[in-house]
């Protein structure tokens, strides 16, 4: 019976979607993406010597992504063990080290996370040293007319959106400290949009989605589309500094130490400064463990890692529900129209249209988000028009809703298409011969008969919208109270060791909502089957 097949199939699709949620979360960093692995040499040393590593595994802050391979090339040239890097935000790497990720060297973008690891025995405290420094700079889109000249003028400047890295990412915390030190934090805070990483933040400024942003000098130098407005100078707060350490679990302590030593040498220093980094000793920082915990305002927080500030789990639940319901409502008419069109009409380019509609099902949501940002961002014609009529998309609830809708739309359309496929067209034909023309027939016969499928599609789209992460974080950011839905809040909390309680509230809410949605889907499927079965069973 065709209806049975199609409903089983829909349930299967739903299951696949649920399975897809997991990798979605793992993928969800705009810009730099997930930990990027760069293998430097294919040289395969024989494994005869237990202490001689085949490769040295280095987990490093993502802002070092461009420069460390250059350093490694020099290291490689002088006969060092091949190095393999994994780059990601320090806040994601440090917990990974503690959980036993394979790593010999850890390079942190701030001392707080390094100390956190040291206290928990993740790294060898004796090996902690300063490996580089950086500088915070304020960047604006390259075409910006009148950028602020110094930190003090940010508060008064006409900059409706200022991009910062997330609260847990060192760059984000440095930026906050820098703004606090000039007394600008409270006036700037409402205008802040949070990126998942420095690179993500930079991308927003480069695309003029944000009017300004605080990033590292090294990142700013690598991006042509932004202009450096000014640098945060002075001792308070101290310049961002990278520290390196040998992990506690390494089996190759000597090679790891040697690599860290090499990073302090002349060759590495030259490569670092060419890329915009400061030398390891800049600002008086000393490459000793005690100095790392010295009394600066960044470090005063001690082990208080400043969990996601002001994250309210109930606001995330509320936002998720608003986003999911709005996405379902907004998509209702387009989904019915598209489902009907695909089921009932043959037209030129039908397979192409179908492919485009279904694409978000298989395209990684982060990519979908990027494409949406390209089409609906302020720089685009459409996005500019929408912003001009007061409907800006990026970083708004509307943006989060659109992201959720586009990603859930394929499921919506598939369910509706399936029901229009199974409803006997002759019901419509009978209606026509009874003197009722096409439009009223659609309203009185086709729509009511398709209702269970439409409802099932809405429920699937709703469930998918609840789980949406990747496209949302790229298009709408991760803004507390505005676009931070359950999935985004959980992600933020997972990076903060202090946020477990709130995480559980969200996890339970999320699972419950999804299960209720799937139960609803199951019920609607049965309803449809019963109604249709009867006719077919004659």
């Amino acid at each position: 019976m065709p209806i049975l097949l199609s409903t089983e199939w829909l349930i299967g699709v739903a299951a696949v979607q649920l399975m897809m949620l997991q990798p979605t979360v793992a993928k969800a960093v705009p810009g730099s993406g997930p930990a990027v692995e760069v293998a430097w040499t294919e040289r395969r040393a024989d494994q005869e010597a237990y202490q001689t590593p085949e490769t040295l595994r280095v987990l490093a802050a993502s802002s070092l992504q461009d420069v460390l391979p250059v350093v490694a090339r020099a290291w490689d040239a002088q006969g060092g063990v091949p190095v393999r890097f994994s780059f990601d935000a320090t806040s994601r790497l440090a917990p990974q080290v503690l959980r036993g990720a394979p790593a010999d060297v850890f390079i942190s973008a701030d001392d707080v996370w390094m100390r956190w690891l040291e206290e928990r025995g993740g790294v060898d405290g004796q090996s902690i040293r300063r490996v580089a420094t950086n500088q915070l700079v304020f960047v604006v889109p390259s075409g910006a007319p009148d950028p602020p000249r110094d930190a003090g003028s940010i508060a008064a400047a006409d900059l409706p959106r200022i991009a910062l890295a997330g609260e847990n990412v060192p760059a984000g915390r440095y930026a906050r400290a820098a703004l606090e030190s000039v007394g600008a934090w409270s006036s700037v805070e409402p205008r802040i949009v949070r990126g998942g990483s420095v690179r993500g933040t930079l991308e927003w400024v480069a695309r003029s989605e944000a009017d300004g942003g605080i990033v590292y000098r090294s990142d700013a130098l690598a991006e042509d589309r932004v202009r450096l407005a000014f640098a945060f100078e002075g001792e308070d707060p101290p310049a961002p500094a990278y520290s390196g350490a040998v992990t506690a679990r390494t089996e190759f302590r000597e090679a790891a130490e040697a690599f860290l030593d090499f990073m302090g040498g002349a060759e590495a220093t030259a490569a670092l400064s060419a890329a915009g980094f400061g030398p390891a000793g800049a600002g008086g920082a000393v490459a000793q463990a005690p100095a790392v915990s010295g009394g600066s305002s960044v470090l005063d927080g001690s082990t208080t890692l400043g969990g996601p500030m002001g994250l309210d789990p109930w606001s995330a639940v509320r936002l998720s529900l608003i986003v999911a319901f709005s996405a379902v409502l907004l998509g209702l008419i387009p989904a019915v129209a598209m489902g009907w069109l695909l089921a009932r009409r043959d037209f030129f380019g039908k397979s192409f249209v179908s492919m485009i509609v279904m694409a978000p099902l298989v395209v990684p949501p982060v990519v979908t988000g990027f494409l949406l940002l390209s089409v609906l961002g302020r720089e685009s014609a459409l996005g500019g028009l929408l912003a001009a009529v007061g409907l800006p998309i990026p970083f708004t609830l509307l943006g989060a809703t659109l992201a959720a809708l586009v990603v859930g739309f394929p499921l919506y359309v598939m369910a509706i298409r399936a029901v229009f496929d199974t409803v006997d067209r002759r019901f419509e034909e009978v209606s026509w011969t009874l003197g009722v023309p096409k439009a009223p027939t659609f309203r009185r016969i086709s729509l009511p008969l398709a209702l269970p499928g439409i409802a099932a599609g809405a429920v699937l789209a709703f469930a998918r919208a609840l789980g949406e992460f990747g496209a949302t974080v790229v298009l709408a950011g991760n803004m507390e109270g505005e676009t931070r839905t359950i999935a985004l809040a959980v992600y933020s909390l997972l990076e903060s060791p202090s946020g477990r309680g709130a995480t559980w509230i969200l996890v339970i809410a999320s699972v419950m909502l999804s299960l209720v949605a799937l139960l609803g889907f199951e019920g609607l499927t049965r309803w449809q089957r019963r109604r249709m079965e009867d006719h077919h069973g004659r």
């Binding site: 034909e429 009978v430 026509w432 011969t433 009722v436 016969i445 008969l449 109604r531 009867d534 006719h535």
Partner: protein, 240 residues
Amino acid sequence: MAAEGHAEGRAAGGAEGRIAGRAAGAQGWGLHVQVRVPLDAIELDVDWRPQSDHVAIVGPSGSGKSTLLRTLAGLDPGAEGRVSCGDEVWLDSDSGVYTPPWERRVGWVPQDALLFPHLSLRENLAYAGAGPADVEGMAESLLLADLLDRRPRFLSGGERQRVALGRALLSAPRMLLLDEPFSALDRPLRSEIAAMVRKFSRDSGTPIVLVSHDEHDAELLADERWVLVAGSLSKDGTSA
């Protein structure tokens, strides 16, 4: 009633009855169907001008009977040729004339009834706009009065066919197209419903085109019989 007489003489074939009935509509009622419709294996190719008000088309399944009805109803966009009813042209593929089904008002009663599953019997009967009194009266004469508030899925096959018939009759049709309308009814009920349909037809002057593979059904209702074999239509007697 005449229909009862027909029911009596079913076994040997009511030839006399048919001939007697035909005289009434000898000049025909203006339907002229001259079409070609490609089917799966054959082509339906007819030039048909029925004379009587009560016409039956019999033939084995797959001969194109249902397609002919659909063409009359305007549901088969593949038809080439010309269909006219009185002075109205319903289809003229040469000049691109096509009248949609809702303007033809043929009371199509499909073989499997196709009652709207989301509507009660009352709502099905009233679908084309009949008032409550007409609906009740129709239900009464179709022996459905007790079932009016049920949904189609709770009905037997025979009950469904009667509702489909009633729904078509209540749409004030210009003609009735019946596709195996009595296949799910038992014999006594067939005669009774057939009599009712004939009465309706006579009272309202509505011609009937009936399609069936069952000779008996044809005898119950029709005065004029055509045989459709492999897409070709011939007047009864020349080929049967």
